[in-house]
Symmetry: C2
Subunit: 312 residues, 2 copies
Amino acid sequence: MILAVTLNAALDVTYEVDALVPGSTHRVTTSWARAGGKGINVASVLHALGIPVIATGLVGGSTGDLIVADLEARGIVHDFVAVNGDSRRTVNVVSAATGDSTIFNEAGPVIGADEWTAALATIGSLVESHAATVVALSGSLPRGLPDTAYAQLVEVARDRGALTVVDAGGAVLAAAVAAHPDVVKPNLAELEAATGSTDIPAGAAALRDLGARDVVVSAGAEGATVVQADGRVITVHPGARLAGNPTGAGDAMVAAICAGLADGDPWTTTLTEAVAWSAAAVLEPLAGELDAAEVVRRRSAVTVVAGSAERR
Amino acid sequence: MILAVTLNAALDVTYEVDALVPGSTHRVTTSWARAGGKGINVASVLHALGIPVIATGLVGGSTGDLIVADLEARGIVHDFVAVNGDSRRTVNVVSAATGDSTIFNEAGPVIGADEWTAALATIGSLVESHAATVVALSGSLPRGLPDTAYAQLVEVARDRGALTVVDAGGAVLAAAVAAHPDVVKPNLAELEAATGSTDIPAGAAALRDLGARDVVVSAGAEGATVVQADGRVITVHPGARLAGNPTGAGDAMVAAICAGLADGDPWTTTLTEAVAWSAAAVLEPLAGELDAAEVVRRRSAVTVVAGSAERR
């Protein structure tokens, strides 16, 4: 079983308006809401492909109730830990006139130190009770949590025999690698922020020196590269450049990595899937959606380049 | 007891951002939410001055729960009728850079015909059970309700011995006057839309010909004029022109009219209070707030002009 963790879950609300004019009053012509956050997108992608997954993390208040109700309606298995604060909303105002998205992100709840201690224990017990073999840790942290939150969860998961995949940036990524996660998946900007390097093999080697085992760097339309513990490097290119919605492409990649880890697949297979899922996700208007037939088409288009990294 | 009805109650959410830039992503630095809608503002003003009032109307879903919870927290007595749809939110994005407000109004629930029939009966029973002597009907209607909704409520209230005050515009106002409400309070734009006239005595006479008894026309910084059933006209000017927040000034005026009706005050007294409350409300940043000391100051500044209208 894969456990996808979202500590800062959101209710993603979309408002359609005729045209956005700052300083004026707008009638919202259509609105809808959907559970979001990177870990929830990972769970949604795995669910779309029929791969067993449980979404967990922290939710609270009436917005938290709506997040859980949406997962329930979508048939995504969930087991969230309740917190006192109200989960955040994001409001995406889409202008019919220009097609532009203007996004407002609420700050979300502040998690107390005692709440986090209790949640950490609860998530640990979920790893056991759901017999999780892979735990995905995705996205930003709510206020109040230490930068070491993912590092703590990596240890909790490993102590219970589960592999871990971390998709984070900044200080949270830096703290997480020190706990020796099995896979970290920075994008190029996150790699540079964490290591100062824009060179994938050099940056990945730096992350490995800090404690990460395998490092997958996502490079948008260029695909992705894995640098493994033994120095082997595999790069997968997606083939045709696709126009679409890049939001959620990274989450689809993390989902494929989790699925590959759960199955014990070799990296050539896993990274091929990761790039195919990610490319297929770009074609979906909503993050977390994936069409299995499109994955098959994208898989046939990829090219795999294997080599070995020069270690410093 | 005064009963303040809000059929399209809202949760008014405010987001503070550094600067609103269409097409970009914004971190909401501060957010808060508050029960809103014109009838709720009327109840809030009466509550602020210690005058007994009960807020009622239609609420639904988790947003409806938050509206009721906010009234509870503010100590405003409430007795709302539950509907199936989710009550609407308004999102007001305030830019710290410019001070501009950019507002997004959700459409709100669609009320079914059977729901409305049941709600009408329930509101009728609330008029009785709370021994209401005055019923205020304020603001727009949710989708699904007929334009005659306020006309129906005027009849329901009168059948139970209560006086009625209608604050509405357009087709809803036109339908309401045919049911002979005791007071209607259009502003100048609503008066012109309903009667084609910008002349207050002529427009008010036209509304009276259509069925209204007393007509109060609010004229912003110019104050207000009442045209009574017997043709007497009283105009009250607020004195000094005040800079501030005009949202909610009309609701404060309706609140004073309700209080005057409930006490059986003469129109000179009631309209003086109405203009004083309205002026004091302009000085408050939030609609529905009122400072009793400021009302005293505004009351001392008004001038009253009495006369009689020439009937056509």
